[in-house]
Every structure is written in structure tokens, then in C-alpha cells.
């Protein structure tokens, strides 16, 4: 009997480990992003160890990249300065018009009253690691549950959406990028309000799937989050339509969207510690038919509150985008 056990030990270990791996996959599949609590201790420990080592390894790499980038950026700074000055004048002019529109519609008081609720605490975080396999697009950031980061928190930059936190340890968090094939965001076209789903294609661009009928999507349209889906607030920039696929006779059509954020050059990001109504709501009148024209997105409000600010109890529930009374 002991001889038999000894002979079977090897195959039993092999089968048991393969079984554990398969069961782990199936169990992990059942869990949604926002349903994940803090990672189990062993995963958290690995993340905790990985984050500082990743930062150590990437520091010289970032240094060299930053030096080169600064040099390249310097070359274009004069032209960019002229362009920005021109753009600033345009934006200031638009701003005056919007304020005027707000005053006449009585919304300015509402803007002031909602200001505290609108501002979402933003926690700056650094990227300390990237997924090494080309099949998954995720990053490791150096902020975790000790900083109030929880799975489901959106991660953004000033250009737009980066992704969503999928797991946290005390001082690190795993973030799934928009480009990941598992990523799907309810979105709308800023100009025409056409709705659809933005999915990662696993490489460098996004796919915007929208209904063919009654949808108006053209190349160059800005695609923003719709606020539905319970993770991203409304009006965050996702990207710009660069190509529209041929209709295949189905109900939906797919447009190729270039992400607003250059996800290959990420260095610093902001974690939105809670979601809430965005500025876009403020430009809407009580009747949907009387929507005011206006900037429909707040790409990323500046980190105006303390990074350690706790999510407010008054924060809007995920998915609820309701006007205050």
C-alpha cells in the first residue's frame, strides 16, 4: 500500500494542481470588477512586494524616457504655445457664452450649490508595473486600500479615462486598462448623443459598437462615458472616432476609436475615489428637450481635495445620475 501511494504521489500532485488552477479560473470568472473585495493575502503580499521593486526598476527607465521626452517636447514648444494661446482665446469666449446661458436659465445657483457634490476626490498615483504579456492590458499603481482605493474606482488622467481598479492590496492596486479585451464601457457620442459600448480590442485602439438605426456617428466624433454601468461617471473622455466600419446588415455597427489617453506613455494617473454626477448634468435643463449646448465633459477635475479624503456619504450611488431637489 505505501508503495502504491508513493508511486501515485506524483500523478496525484499533478492532477490536483491542474484541478486547482482550473477551479481558480472558473471561480475568478464569476466575480465582477466591483464585487471584488480586497485581494486574498497571498495576492496582496505579491503586489506589496512587486510595487516597490517595480518602482525601483522603472525609476531609471522613466528618468531616461523623461529626459528624451523633454528634449523632444522642447522642439515643438513654440508652435504649441502659439496654438494654445489661440485656443485659450476661443475657450474664454465660449466660457463667457456658457455662463451667460447658465445665468439666463437660472442654473448658476444650482452649479454653486452642487459644487461640493460634483468634485470627486482624485488621488494621484504612479505606475510601477505593466503586464508583461501582450494578452492582458493592465497596470500596477502604487496606491491601495490604505489610500481608500477600492476595486471599481475609475482611473483617469487629464486627457480622459485610463481604466478601472480591479484589485487592491494595502499599498498597490491592479488596474485594467480600457484596451483590455475584458473592458466594456457604456458610452455616447458627445455631439449626437448616440449610445453604444466601447470595448478594448486588446491592442492599441477601442471598438465603439453602436446601433445603426437612429445613430449619427462620424469620423472625428468625441466619445465619452454615458454614466450608465455603475463604474465611470458621466462625461469622461474615452477617445475619438477614427474609422467607421462597413454596415454588415446587422443592427449594430462598429467604429474604431483612438483612446483619448496615450496608454503606452502613462506615468502618472489619478484614481477617482468615488463617482458622482459630473459637470455635464449641470448643463442640462429640467426638460431633456431643452438641453443647453455646452461642454459635455469634465475630462478630469484637478485634485482639489486631500488625497486621503474619504468618499462622501452624500456621493451619488453608482448608476444614479439625479438632479438635486
Amino acid at each position: 500500500m505505501p508503495d502504491l501511494l508513493k508511486r501515485l504521489a506524483g500523478p496525484l500532485v499533478v492532477v490536483a494542481l491542474l484541478f486547482v488552477a482550473v477551479v481558480s479560473m472558473v471561480v475568478d470568472r464569476q466575480r465582477g470588477v466591483v464585487e471584488r473585495a480586497q485581494l486574498p493575502w497571498w495576492q496582496a503580499t505579491i503586489l506589496e512586494v512587486s510595487a516597490p521593486i517595480g518602482r525601483l526598476v522603472s525609476a531609471p527607465i522613466d528618468g531616461v524616457k523623461g529626459y528624451y521626452r523633454n528634449y523632444v517636447d522642447l522642439l515643438a514648444v513654440r508652435a504649441e504655445n502659439a496654438h494654445l494661446t489661440e485656443r485659450l482665446a476661443e475657450v474664454e469666449s465660449e466660457n463667457v457664452q456658457f455662463r451667460e446661458a447658465l445665468v439666463t436659465s437660472g442654473h448658476l445657483e444650482r452649479v454653486a450649490a452642487m459644487r461640493d457634490e460634483v468634485e470627486i476626490p482624485m488621488l494621484p498615483a504612479e505606475i510601477v508595473g505593466l503586464d508583461v504579456t501582450p494578452w492582458f492590458r493592465s497596470i500596477l499603481i502604487d496606491r491601495g486600500s490604505e489610500h481608500d482605493v477600492v476595486p471599481g474606482n475609475p482611473v483617469v488622467t487629464k486627457e480622459g479615462v485610463v481604466g478601472v481598479v480591479t484589485g487592491t492590496s494595502p499599498h498597490a492596486a491592479k488596474t485594467m486598462l480600457l484596451l483590455d479585451r475584458q473592458s466594456a464601457v457604456d458610452a455616447l457620442v458627445q455631439r449626437s448623443r448616440a449610445r453604444g459600448i466601447v470595448r478594448g480590442d486588446g491592442r492599441a485602439s477601442l471598438e465603439f459598437e453602436f446601433f445603426v438605426r437612429e445613430s449619427d456617428v462620424v469620423v472625428g466624433d468625441e466619445v465619452v462615458t454615458s454614466g450608465l454601468g455603475g463604474i465611470y461617471p458621466k462625461g469622461l473622455r474615452l477617445g475619438r472616432v477614427v474609422e467607421i466600419g462597413e454596415a454588415t446588415g446587422q443592427l449594430t455597427r462598429i467604429a474604431v476609436v483612438r483612446p483619448a489617453v496615450d496608454l503606452g506613455r502613462l506615468e502618472q494617473v489619478f484614481v477617482m475615489l468615488r463617482r458622482g454626477p459630473t459637470m455635464e448634468l449641470l448643463y442640462r435643463s429640467n426638460s431633456p428637450a431643452e438641453d443647453l449646448p455646452g461642454p459635455a465633459s469634465v475630462s478630469s477635475p484637478p485634485p482639489s481635495q486631500s488625497p486621503s479624503a474619504r468618499p462622501s456619504a452624500q456621493a451619488a450611488e453608482p448608476g444614479s445620475e439625479v438632479f438635486p431637489p
Binding site: 494542481l17 486547482v20 477551479v23 505579491i46 518602482r55 524616457k65 508595473g129 492590458r137 500596477l140 475584458q182
Partner: protein
């Protein structure tokens, strides 16, 4: 035991290093260092079951830092180890070229394995030319960097095997010395 800990340390070092390295060499241009340690284990590790256990630990560790499902890398790394170990016992893989060829094929298979399991459990996607191209690029990168990692595993095996032999032979000589008249 020492050799097991040493090879685990090598695998973890690779895992930590590759996350930071990917900042400079974005995938698929970044080698999967901890996977290469698994290939080295399959090819050079003397104990089949202990190698399998080390592979499982490294696989789950990879799952912890990757965007994969927990168990996905572990399963495929166990598969890689099994194939490498069987190949090492059946074929003559002592030269550099056969080892490089096997690494290339295993890496290619690993890429397809990831896409297949993801298709099965998460998002359906075709196993087309595009997948092949990405997998092939990473297979080339992995093959080019395989030498030092597989060599590292081999050195660990040799180093601790020598110590073990010396320890055992020392005991035997001492015993013989005492019993001789």
C-alpha cells in the same frame, strides 16, 4: 531544499523585474522572464514533482500581478513545464539550438493557450493570424533571452547538487573512518 528556494527566488526576481522592464519594452517586446524560469525547470530540474510545485507557485504569482484570471497563467505554466519536462526526458536538448526551438514553440503555444482559455471563459475571439503574429514576436523575444534564465536554473541545479554530493560523501567517509580498525 536550498536549490528549490534558490530557483523560486530566481522566478520571483524575474517576475518583479519584468513588470518594471515592461515600462521600457512594451509587450510583446518584453520577455516573460518568470515563464523562462519555468522552461528552465522543465528542461534541467531533476525532480519532476518538486519542479511542478515550484511552477505552480510561480504561475499563481504571475496571476496575482497580471490582468489574467487567477489560475490562467498557473494552468498554462504547468502545461509548459509538463511539455518541457517530457521533451527533456525524450529528446536530446543539450545543445543551444534544440533548446531555442523548443522555447519558441512553447512560447507560441503559450500565447495561443492564453487566447484560447480567454475565449472559452471570457471574451470570444478568433485564433487568427493576428494572434499568431503577436505570439510569434513574443516567442522570438523569449527565445533570445532564454539562454541566461535556463542557464541560471542549470547553475542552481549543479551548484546545489555538488553540495549535496559533497555532504553525503563526507558523511559516508566519516562513517567508514570510524568503523575501520
Amino acid at each position: 531544499m536550498k536549490s528549490t528556494l534558490a530557483v523560486l527566488a530566481l522566478g520571483f526576481a524575474g517576475l518583479m523585474l519584468q513588470g518594471g522592464l515592461a515600462r521600457a519594452l512594451p509587450p510583446p517586446w518584453c520577455p516573460d522572464l518568470s515563464w523562462l524560469v519555468v522552461v528552465g525547470l522543465g528542461l534541467r530540474w531533476p525532480g519532476f514533482v518538486s519542479g511542478f510545485l515550484v511552477t505552480a507557485v510561480l504561475g499563481f504569482a504571475m496571476d496575482a500581478v497580471s490582468g489574467s484570471l487567477i489560475g490562467q497563467h498557473a494552468l498554462l505554466r504547468l502545461g509548459t513545464y509538463l511539455v518541457a519536462a517530457i521533451a527533456a526526458r525524450q529528446l536530446d536538448l543539450s545543445g543551444g539550438i534544440p533548446t531555442a526551438m523548443l522555447t519558441f514553440v512553447l512560447s507560441l503555444g503559450y500565447g495561443f493557450g492564453i487566447v484560447a482559455t480567454r475565449s472559452l471563459l471570457l471574451v470570444p475571439e478568433p485564433l487568427g493570424l493576428e494572434v499568431f503574429a503577436i505570439a510569434a514576436v513574443q516567442a522570438v523575444v523569449n527565445t533570445l533571452t532564454a539562454g541566461p534564465l535556463i542557464g541560471g536554473v542549470e547553475r542552481i541545479v549543479n551548484r546545489f547538487a555538488d553540495e549535496e554530493v559533497a555532504r553525503r560523501s563526507g558523511l559516508a567517509l566519516g562513517h567508514a573512518g570510524r568503523t575501520r580498525p
